[in-house]
């Protein structure tokens, strides 16, 4: 076997990447087939994202009406022309629900995403560099106490208070919820890091001379990722519900101008409208339900996909060839050991001393 590796062209490298991309796609599809609920969730999430993109670029493909564009039918129940009916002002509920998809999705993902990055980074620092007395230890104490302060407020009330003081608008809403959202990620990530950082493979990496920053960025992040990504996916649903709650109490977005599901429900539930025209709240309610369900289904199965142990099993690879490789090798080495038992090797030319056999010394400690 040659020590010098063959010179690599960029073509070779590209081919390698393509091959591995094809492999992971096949693996992904197989896992999805083994886990139908996750697959449904995945399809739903992809569909919702596709709808969001279409509504941003070419809304006329899905609905003939524009945003905040009254039709001539007032308070019409659901029909073929208006699948979710219209409100008393003549707005098509179906069109409004669709226009709200990118808005709601953006707000939810922005909040959960920023909370994940910000809170996750703080959690990594607080979890990994926590030796008391060092600079890292102090940083960790400060991070955790600030987290505690934020956690000690009832989060929804705090978010409402901030939303009131900042006024209406997408960015104001994001900031208001974000302030109450990041501490949970600090706690989650810190807990995971604390559990992982004393595992033997982290010590082994340290023994191999891997620097601390690289241990965190490579070994720890990869193993924390699994529960955190699952939490993140489920969290998008929770943010949506919170968002709708704030919209419902009337502090969300300005509905007819900026469509948003929670604000829609809030607008329609007042003044007895909900009993007179129930379809007006059914549309946005259904949209919230479907979106939250989609992310929850996806999140449940994501853990199995991210964990290499269960991934291979799901993909139907683990039970098959790989274990047999391990067994084959074990067998081969067993027979090798039988042919030349190491116990009678020439190592013990010492003589009459009570030299115990290598294998006989027992393996318990």
């Amino acid at each position: 076997m040659a020590f010098e590796e063959a010179p690599q062209t960029s073509g070779d490298r590209a081919k390698g990447y393509l091959r591995s991309a094809g492999h992971s796609t096949r693996m992904f599809l197989r896992v999805m087939r083994a886990n139908p609920l996750t697959f449904i969730g995945f399809i739903m999430v992809v569909a919702i994202c596709a709808v969001a993109v279409i509504m941003l670029t070419a809304p006329h493909l899905l609905t003939p009406y524009g945003n905040n564009d009254p039709t001539t039918d007032y308070a019409a129940p659901p029909s073929w022309q208006h699948p979710m009916g219209t409100d008393s002002g003549g707005l098509d509920i179906y069109a409004e629900v669709l226009y709200a998809v990118p808005v709601d999705l953006f707000i939810a993902m922005a909040i959960a995403g920023v909370a994940l990055l910000f809170g996750g980074a703080l959690g990594l620092i607080a979890g990994f560099w926590d030796e008391p007395g060092t600079a890292g230890g102090w940083a960790s104490v400060i991070i955790l106490r600030i987290t505690d302060i934020f956690l000690s407020f009832p989060s929804l009330i705090l978010a409402l208070a901030i939303a009131v003081s900042l006024g209406r608008g997408i960015w104001q809403l994001i900031v208001a919820i974000l302030v109450t959202w990041w501490p949970y990620y600090v706690r989650l990530v810190r807990g995971e890091v604390l559990a992982i950082k004393h595992l033997p493979y982290v010590t082994a990496a340290r023994a191999a001379g891997v620097a601390n920053t690289r241990i965190v960025s490579r070994h720890i992040v990869r193993n924390v990722l699994e529960p955190v990504v699952v939490y993140f996916t489920l969290d998008i649903g929770t943010v949506l519900v919170t968002l709708s709650t704030i919209g419902f109490v009337g502090l969300g977005l300005n509905y007819p101008i900026t469509p948003e599901w929670g604000s829609m429900i809030s607008t329609y539930q007042g003044a007895g409208l909900i009993t007179a025209y129930p379809w007006t709240v059914l549309g946005p309610g259904l949209a919230i339900f479907v979106t939250v369900l989609a992310f929850s289904l996806l999140g449940d199965g994501l853990r199995d996909i991210l964990d290499p142990r269960s991934r291979r099993v799901l993909a139907g690879e683990g039970g098959g060839p790989s274990t047999s490789v391990a067994e084959k090798q074990e067998e081969a080495q067993d027979t090798a050991a039988e042919i030349s038992p190491p116990e009678v090797a020439e190592g013990s030319e010492g003589g009459p001393a009570p030299v115990p056999s290598a294998a006989g010394g027992g393996s318990g400690s």
Binding site: Y201, A204, N223, Q329, P342, G350, P354
Partner: protein
């Protein structure tokens, strides 16, 4: 006289647990000469693993603290090196193999990635891109054993060159450029079908294979000192024998010094050149392996050897050492072994055990920490 790779001088390590403080390793001095295998043997809880992990400063500090002593690696005192500089010494300087092959590989990465990371660390250091606090590395000793083909990689002397852009680029080469070298190390540790193993995750390998991968990782960094902390303890007897055979073969191929920790006398007898026997945190006897095993000069060593199961003894119950290892937070006064010692006399309780001293009538370098070392051969 070969130079020492590592010499530990009067090392004491305390654990502070709650209000209590106990000395897991007290006043241990030993040297690992270049190209030699030094074994440390002793019962569970006598401080072997603490000593092994203290040398590359892998002990979590706190709760552990190094109370006194020096750990000289070349001319650097590792006790004084700040923690953030230690990664530069670990790996290519001092590498380690652990007891638990099950958990010592990162479960989320393929075998290739894990081995490639170790090789990359060495390459980056060889390329001179990072500062290293170690002294100039000497070449490997070519005279010790003939070179087998598989060890070709390891025979290349590790002399850090100056920084060159080409070397730096090469050090950073990504997947799959290190494949050849990774395969070479997997072949070196006698893994069948290394091409398949590369793409597997650790949980898909058996315990023995994982330990082989660990050994390959440690060796791929070409360490000056390899610390093997009970590498065979977690494996069943057949695999233990295989891994041990492999290590014995590798010791001849790889010109590195090894500190081999084990509670298994047989393992030490087969691998080590010199042995240190530890009891209750103290080194009680140190010397050439043949002399220690044939002619022990400390009552504890003698008792240990008698208690080991052998093929030659076919009748009667196994011998045991009465009592158990003392609680290290309240060690017995005087010599720590005296409550269990057949030779114990009043002086053993009144005075601390003597320092490790050359025993009269024993082979050169055979040192014992017993007042009555000369009487030990008369014990049954």
């Amino acid at each position: 006289m070969t130079p020492n790779i590592v010499s530990v001088e009067g090392l004491s390590i305390d654990y502070v647990v709650g209000a209590g403080r106990f000395r897991a390793v007290s006043d241990v001095s030993l040297e690992v000469p270049e190209g030699q295998v030094v074994g440390i043997v002793g019962e569970t809880g006598c401080g072997k693993s603490t000593l092994a992990q203290a040398i590359p400063r892998l002990l979590p500090e706190p709760p552990a603290t190094i109370g006194a002593g020096r750990i000289l690696f070349g001319d650097i005192d590792l006790v004084k090196v700040p923690m953030w500089k230690m990664p530069m010494i670990r790996g290519t300087g001092i590498s380690m193999i652990f007891q638990e092959p099950l958990n010592s590989l990162n479960p989320s990465f393929r075998i290739y990635d894990q081995l490639a990371e170790a090789i990359q660390i060495r390459r980056i250091r060889e390329s001179g891109r990072v500062a290293r606090p170690t002294h100039e590395q000497a070449g490997y000793d070519y005279t010790r054993a003939p070179m087998p083909e598989t060890g070709e990689v390891l025979s290349k002397p590790f002399v850090p060159g100056g920084y060159t852009a080409k070397a730096a680029r090469k050090a950073m080469t990504p997947y799959p450029a290190l494949r050849g070298e990774v395969l070479e190390y997997l072949t070196l540790v006698r893994i069948n079908d290394p091409e398949t193993i590369l793409d597997l995750y650790p949980h898909e390998l058996s315990g023995g294979m994982r330990q082989r991968v660990m050994i390959a990782m440690a060796l791929s960094e070409k360490p000056r000192l390899l610390i093997a902390d009970e590498p065979t303890s977690a494996l069943d007897v057949t695999i233990q024998a295989q891994v041990l055979t492999l290590m014995k073969e590798l010791i001849d191929e790889v010109h590195t010094s090894i500190l081999f920790i084990s509670h298994d006398l047989g393992v030490i007898a087969e691998t080590a050149d010199q042995v240190g026997v530890m009891y209750a945190g103290k080194l009680v006897e140190f010397g050439p392996v043949a002399d220690i095993f044939q002619n022990p000069r400390h009552p504890y060593t003698k008792a240990l050897l008698r208690a080991a199961p052998t093929l030659y003894k076919s009748e009667g119950p196994l011998d045991t050492i009465a009592g158990s290892v003392p609680n290290l937070s309240r060690p017995p006064p005087g010599c720590r072994f005296h409550p269990r010692c057949p030779l114990a006399r009043p002086v053993c309780k009144a005075e601390p055990a003597p320092a490790l001293l050359q025993v009269e009538g024993a082979a050169g370098g055979h040192r014992s920490a017993c007042h009555f070392a000369t009487e030990v051969p008369n014990l049954p």
